[in-house]
């Protein structure tokens, strides 16, 4: 048998019968599974790469019955891997959510799926109908608003509680007090799918990647974590000749010089050591025909518009950053724009209730570093 994968199996949405024939019946979740997941070293695939086992254990040790939120909001515009996973392997995700619930002692499960991800929503809805009555009774499909921050874990909890998907202040973190004040596990759907295979003693040492931008065949690919960024780009037909940089990790990641990126290992821990971050698995190649400063300005503008307007430094700071980045990209900067970008990147960090501003300035800082010559040239155009 070939090594197990998440997307292996038939094309299109897999039915419950096919799923069970292929992988066998789902075992029951238990505290032993938490230990199993801890030993596997599985990290969250939502972007933060937090160890999944540690999170399950924290929720399990909380007081009273817990709640599980399977996070498929996928608000990152460049990422499609969660949508593809839910649209093609909905039962793997639901298996993972059920196993998580049984392991941490949860009696309610929310499948939190981005409302604009139509194929994923439809597949998850029909998959849920095919599940046993016990599972259906404790599981609810909940469409998530299509905003960037809706998938942030406190925002997901806030949405379940009050139908408003804005991040809330921490502490308390969801594992301490989440849905209705109960310990709540918010776990990305890809991580849950991994847990579903781990519970069957299969070890899919893979990551789902969304490879896009200046490549021949953009799409979602599954690759062994022993692979490299170069191999991932190769699956998509390779980066176009002359590609200058790769955006690794999506809008919350950072630009990396294309030549250096090819050799980077995919393994989240090794990648972190090399100064990169896989984040939610996005690799977006800067097309050689595109202007790096314009693409950067576009991303930071989007992040500014996606600020929940709750914290001043995030709301005003990202707007100011976007304005300066746009003027530099447009060739009509003010003299203070470039120095201000450098200054504000440090001023905004760590000053929001959630990590939205931190992610945005980390992205901006990577642009200032990788495209330093372009920014210097643009800055000289100032009057």
């Amino acid at each position: 048998m070939t090594a197990p994968t998440l997307l292996g199996g038939p094309a299109g949405a897999e039915s419950f019968a096919e799923h069970q024939r292929r992988l066998g019946a789902r075992p029951l979740g238990s505290p032993a599974l938490i230990e199993h997941i801890e030993r596997s070293g599985l990290v969250g695939r939502g972007g933060a790469s937090f160890p999944a086992g540690a999170k399950w254990r924290a929720v399990a040790s909380g007081a009273g019955p817990a709640v599980v939120i399977a996070n498929g909001a996928e608000g990152e515009p460049l990422s499609h891997k969660d949508q593809v996973l839910m649209a093609t392997r909905p039962h793997l995700v639901i298996d993972g959510a059920q196993l998580a619930a049984e392991s941490v002692g949860a009696d309610r499960i929310f499948l939190y799926v981005g409302e604009s991800h139509r194929a994923a929503l439809a597949a998850m809805a029909s998959a849920l109908q095919q599940r046993p009555a016990v599972e259906r009774a404790r599981t609810r499909l909940l469409p998530a608003p299509p905003t960037y921050t809706a998938g942030e874990e406190t925002a997901a909890v806030h949405f379940v509680n009050e139908r408003v998907a804005t991040p809330t202040a921490i502490p308390p973190r969801p594992f301490e007090a989440g849905v209705d004040g109960r310990p709540t596990l918010v776990q990305n759907v890809e991580s849950l799918a991994h847990a579903a295979l781990l519970a069957r003693n299969l070890f899919p040492d893979t990551v789902l990647l969304t490879v896009g931008g200046g490549v021949a065949r953009p799409g979602v690919y599954e690759l062994h974590t022993g692979g490299s960024v170069g191999e991932a780009l190769g699956l998509a037909g390779g980066a176009r000749t002359g590609a200058r940089a790769v955006l690794l990790g999506g809008y919350f990641g950072g630009w990396i010089d294309a030549a250096a990126a090819a050799g980077f290992a995919l393994d989240p821990r090794r990648l972190k050591a090399a100064g990169g971050s896989l984040g939610c698995g996005v690799m977006w190649v800067l097309d050689p025909r595109s202007d790096p400063l314009l693409e950067t300005a576009r991303v930071i503008q989007h992040l500014a518009e996606e600020s929940a307007a709750q914290c001043g430094p995030c709301f005003f700071g990202l707007r100011s950053l976007a304005g300066a980045a746009a003027r530099l990209a447009g060739g009509q900067p003010e003299r203070s724009d470039l120095p201000n970008l450098h200054r504000w990147v440090d001023m905004v960090r760590g000053r929001g209730a959630c990590r939205h501003p931190d992610g945005a300035v980390a992205f901006m800082a990577s642009a200032l570093q990788v495209f330093a010559p372009e920014y210097a040239a643009a800055g000289r155009r100032a009057l």
Partner: protein, 193 residues
């Protein structure tokens, strides 16, 4: 240093502490109201409140230290941290100890705000409304200058300033520069239950 010089320093530093703490309370109460104009630099608003409070702490340190080391008072170190532990004007001096400890709690939690969370910080910070009046009472009932006209005038002035600031805060609503944007975003991410 002669004994009388120490005693003068104690009294002077006490009065300066009162004035500075009054300034801190007024700035803190008004900062919630965003009394500043849009163009004002931050050191006049958030920065000033913080820095004046640290300056007040320095004068308070001098006030306490000179009182304790003054051989004429023979207070000892006990009343610095133990309220009502002094033989001399037990009650009125004890109020000073209480106010000092409340102030310490407020300063320490402010320095540790990033670690303890906004709500824990805020709960402790509300103690400022207790610390300040207790400090004023301590000044009214203790020391050589208690009841003197000039000290009473300063105390009345301080009380009027704080009461006016609190009244302004209670009577006017706080403008929220983000209110419209906040509402617009909430609209985008809210769904009917």
């Amino acid at each position: 240093m002669s004994n009388s010089l120490l005693w003068y320093t104690t009294r002077g530093a006490g009065v300066v502490s009162l004035l500075l703490l009054t300034g801190v309370v007024v700035l803190g109460v008004l900062s919630v109201r965003r009394f500043e104009a849009a163009g004002w630099p931050r050191f006049l608003t958030v920065g000033l409140h913080r820095n004046v409070s640290l300056l007040a702490l320095v004068f308070l340190g001098v006030h306490i230290l000179t009182a304790v080391v003054d051989p004429f008072t023979s207070l000892g170190w006990v009343p610095v941290l133990i309220p009502f532990g002094s033989y001399y004007r037990t009650f009125w001096l004890g109020l000073g100890t209480v106010a000092f400890e409340l102030l310490l709690a407020i300063v320490v939690t402010s320095l540790l705000r990033a670690f303890i969370g906004a709500w824990a910080w805020r709960l402790v910070h509300w103690l400022a409304y207790a610390a300040w009046p207790i400090a004023v009472l301590h000044g009214i009932g203790t020391g050589t200058d208690a009841g003197s006209f000039w000290l009473l005038a300063i105390q009345v002035l301080c009380a009027v300033a704080v009461l006016a600031a609190v009244a302004l805060r209670l009577l006017t609503s706080s403008p929220d520069p983000l209110a419209a944007d906040r509402a617009r975003f909430r609209e985008r991410v809210s769904r009917e239950p």
